[in-house]
Amino acid sequence: MNMDLSRRQFLGTAGAGLAGGALGAFGFGEIEAAFADSIRPFKLVNTTETRNTCPYCSVACGVIMYSKGDLKKGEPAEIIHIEGDVDHPTNRGTLCPKGAALLDFVKAETRLRYPMVRRPGSDKFERISWEQALDRIARLMKDDRDANFIAANADGVTVNRWTTTGFLAASATTNETAFATYKVVRSAGMVVFDNQARV
């Protein structure tokens, strides 16, 4: 997944080549080493790089996310920087005013953290566990489906549709999430089903 040869490694290799090349030949090797030592280490040197694409518009610019910690090693990972991917053929490292601020999206104060419920007539959300929320939602679905499922129309044709609960799918979820959604929604017989492409 990550680059086989990161840009940072590439620059490092190129630098070494330079030291061993022209400058080295002129006897500047030690000066170069001393100069290199005086430079503060690159801030992102201890981060993990991960390729992603911008979640906003459909240009789908390549981005590189830098995190403290490596998910692949089972560590918690905190993203600390996001920038354009210079290798990406479409955006070639550039980002627009939206993409350039992606870190603030990932870390937005208003990211949701816990399942919540708002009870009928209430003026607030309350915490609820995933188990409670999912059990209740499945119950609500089944009760409505059992009450309103149409197995056959007036002419006796098998139609197996459920029109009283609907599902509005997203605009930025992955194709894999989309297919999983499709399977779950259609197998239940739902026809009130749409996505953001409609608007």
Partner: protein
């Protein structure tokens, strides 16, 4: 897009109309800049506002919103009149020569067969004459007065430059300058690209806006070539993918259709899907429909889908209406006919028209479930926020669940960009607190439903109990597992139909592409057009090789493009009837006497002879359609109709003001302002600012700061008329609602003269709401009408009527 972002480098002329790529797709727009700098390409922008795209254009022309068809048919008329037609292309690759049935006509704004009560057409005359041999009759001399070309010529004759000016408000000289520049691209060695977005789709005749340009591109020979095409820029990162995978009321993945209740069984369903060629020797690729359909059913129901039960055909829901789109869903909700609703990463309170109706409708639900990474307005529709969300929570009985989901940075999987590239991405961060991936949430719900049905029984449970669910951890499917399902696999041995001794795919292996799919149940495939994305070669969507021979911009080894990694659709049409490139400097694929090859995956059978097989292989004709038969509800040719709220009476057909077949719900009819209304005299439109991404960036501090406050844009002339000051507070209201905003008085918008009358335009950007870190503010959907495009029901957000006045309001 027929082409790709990186292909725009190859163009000679960019027409941005119905979009604003410089602001809405900035990094893609760089390829326009490249074409200008390196090829000397020109840029034309036609828009009601002088946008940032317009600011770097060679020619800008203003146009009244909702008048694009008149403009485009005017250009087609100009090309025909001035013999600026790529004749070899039109004759060989379009249906110009096809003879249309007697009886088909267009009069007083209506095509033949209109039924006013049903607001629908009997489309039986909108078709070709079929000969005794079963094929469509053609006249290659184009002399027959009933051939498509002559009917088109007659149809567009009314759209003179004078008529264009009357309808669009575009000065005649400007229009003629643009028509002349576009017409130059009829040369086989000059190419134009069309870049459009929601400025064309969000109209009651949005589909026909796009058709009009597609027809123009065919007349100029610009489809299938490098630097050409019809390029829908698309709004969100994966609306292309979500549509490809069929997440719409009437779709099955890969642009197949959910059955209607008229298709009572499998055979009835297949009967209208034979796709017999309409001309000798044509490919008519949809003849393979049954293979894709059966493979889809196998991916849904696995071993439970058998030939004996017609692969569980009856388990698919059957529709009684064309589709339950979002407008119909909210209409049903409003009538109290819905119980529950799920919103997965979607914020309808902000994004659907007639916000009051949306809010009232949500209040009538028993339950609402919101799955989102962000705290959306929809999840809090019951919460009082001053005049911005003026509701009484105590009166709203809806039970609301807000489920935290991951964002892009915490999830693996693929997104499909506007150029049809499926690009894989990887999670790099830990999700906050208890946020979960959507796939986990859906799996958990499905498993619970399954368990409840197992324990309790209930309404027809077979499809739920037998849904194929082959994941290592059933409660948490991985993206890779699902990607393989989408790609498809062989369930039995797949043999070569030409040589049954030859095994194409061993049982259990992933299929290389959709060519291996079968209709006997021996293959499963979730979405046939994506087949090849993850096969035995591995995850092709994750490929990152930037090799691009001769810098054509194809990047065949970068990610995967559907179908079968093809980068430019209809690319066979980049070569002439004999298979030689129209433009040797822009070669794409060519015929070498034995096969097709070149820079792209050929969009034709590799050994199909150029003189025999037409380039538009999905059409039974083998050619493209200037006349679209009965395939669109509102006509085989586009015609100009006014928006449902318009400042003028339709100058082209005064007796038919607006799209005659657009669906209107009875209660909404009362909420439309009359044409030329004095109560609502100004033409409003909605758009997005470059610093914002819909309602998401309200949650992002940087973007909230860059454009902090809701405003409306008006001309200096309108400001003077209504005594509105720059930066002063105004009220803008329509027949459906009212918003409060700061006024930006600008030269970017000017009044237009349409049919002799000054039309003032009010621009209303969208972004604000009442959650996130941005200031609270209103949005255009408080004002917009509840009516959609006649074919696909995209709401008419781009053209409606409002009034405006200055008000006093205390500064926050």
């Amino acid at each position: 897009m027929t082409n790709s972002w990186t292909d725009i480098r190859n163009t000679d002329l960019v027409v941005i109309m119905g979009g604003n790529a410089a602001e809405a797709h900035p990094c893609g727009f760089k390829w326009v800049t490249e074409a200008k700098a390196n090829r000397g390409a020109k840029l034309i922008v036609v828009d009601p506002r002088y946008t940032r795209s317009a600011a770097v254009s060679d020619v800008y022309a203003p146009i009244r919103q909702g008048a694009d068809i008149a403009f485009l048919l005017g250009v087609i008329r100009y090309c025909i009149e001035n013999d600026k037609v790529q004749w070899d292309y039109v004759k060989a690759f379009t249906n110009a020569a096809y003879i249309v049935k007697d009886g088909f006509a267009f009069e007083d704004g209506l095509f033949t067969g209109y039924d006013e009560k049903k607001r629908d057409y009997d489309k039986s005359t909108w078709d070709y004459v079929i000969g005794a041999d079963g094929y469509a009759v053609v006249d290659n001399s184009l002399e027959n007065p009933r051939c498509v070309w002559n009917l088109l010529k007659e149809h567009v004759s009314v759209y003179t430059p004078e008529m264009v000016e009357r309808v669009c408000g575009t000065p005649k000289a400007k229009f003629l300058k643009i028509a002349e520049m576009i017409a130059e691209c009829s040369s086989p060695t000059k190419t134009m690209t069309s870049m459009y977005a929601l400025g064309w789709t969000q109209h009651s005749k949005g589909s026909q806006n796009i058709r009009a340009m597609a027809m123009l591109q065919l007349i100029l020979g610009n489809i299938g070539v490098r630097g050409g095409g019809m390029n829908a820029l698309r709004g969100h990162s994966n609306i292309q993918g979500l549509t490809d995978v069929g997440l719409m009321s009437n779709l099955i993945p890969g642009y197949m259709n959910l059955p209607t209740e008229k298709e009572v069984d499998f055979d009835a369903y297949m009967k209208t899907r034979g796709f017999k060629p309409l001309r000798p020797g044509q490919t008519s690729y949809w003849q393979n429909y049954k293979k894709f359909f059966v493979s889809f059913l196998k991916s849904m129901y696995g071993a439970a889908a058998t030939p004996a039960n017609h692969f569980a055909y009856d388990w698919l829901p059957k529709l009684d209406v064309p589709f339950y789109d979002v407008l119909r869903a909210f209409e049903l909700m409003h009538q109290g006919k819905m119980t529950g609703y799920f919103c997965q990463g979607f914020n309808p309170l902000q994004s659907f028209p007639n916000r009051k109706k949306i809010s009232d409708s949500l209040s009538k639900l028993k339950f609402l479930v919101v799955m989102d990474p962000l705290d959306t307005e929809t999840a809090r529709f019951w919460e009082k926020h001053g005049d911005i969300n003026d509701v009484d929570p105590a009166k709203i009985a809806t039970e609301v669940y807000q489920l935290p989901s991951t964002c892009f940075a915490e999830d693996d999987g693929s997104l499909t960009n506007s150029g049809r590239w499926l690009q894989w991405h990887w999670a790099g961060g830990t999700a906050p607190a208890e946020a979960k991936r959507d796939t986990w949430i859906l799996a958990q719900l499905h498993l619970r439903l399954k368990q409840l049905y197992r324990e309790e029984g209930g309404a027809f449970a077979d499809p739920i109990l037998n849904l194929e669910w082959p994941y290592a951890d059933p409660g948490d499917p991985t993206a890779e597992e699902i990607a393989k399902e989408i790609n498809g696999k062989a369930l039995g041995v797949v043999k070569d139909p030409a040589d049954p001794t030859k095994v194409l795919v061993e049982a259990g292996k992933l299929v290389p592409s959709f060519a291996a799919l079968r209709d006997d149940g021996s293959t499963a495939c979730g979405c046939w057009i994506y087949s090849g994305c993850f096969n035995e070669n591995g995850n092709n969507m994750a490929r990152r090789d930037t090799t691009d021979p001769d810098n054509t911009g194809a990047y065949l080894k970068w990610a995967f493009a559907w179908p079968v990694n093809r980068r430019i659709l209809y690319n066979r049409a980049s070569a002439d009837i004999n298979g030689k490139a129209w433009d040797p400097s822009r070669k794409l694929i060519e015929w070498d006497g034995a096969k097709w090859s070149g820079y792209d995956v050929p969009d034709i059978a590799p050994t199909a002879k150029p003189n025999e097989v037409g380039p538009f292989i999905m059409n039974p004709e083998g050619v493209s359609r200037l006349f679209v038969r009965g395939m669109m509800r509102d006509g085989p040719f586009p015609a100009h109709y006014e928006p449902f709220e318009s400042p003028v009476i339709n100058p082209v057909s005064p007796r038919m003001q607006s799209n005659p077949v657009a669906r209107i719900f009875q209660d909404d009819l009362r909420q439309f302002a009359k044409a030329g209304s004095t109560e609502f005299p100004f033409a409003a439109t909605s758009y997005r600012l470059t610093e914002h991404f819909h309602y998401w960036t309200k949650h992002v501090r940087v973007n909230a700061v860059l454009q902090p406050e809701f405003f409306v844009e008006i001309s200096e002339e309108l400001a003077a008329l209504r005594k509105i000051k720059l930066g002063g507070w105004v009220r803008v209201w329509s027949k459906r609602g009212s918003v409060r905003a700061k006024a930006v008085v600008t030269k970017r918008i000017r009044p237009l003269i349409c049919d002799g009358k000054a039309v003032h335009i009010v621009g209303i950007p969208l972004h604000w709401g009442f959650t996130g870190v941005a200031k609270e503010g209103f949005g255009p959907n408080a004002l917009t009408p509840f009516v959609g495009d006649a074919n696909i029901e995209t709401p008419e957000y781009k053209a409606f009527l409002v009034n405006i006045e200055p008000i006093d309001w205390p500064e926050a």
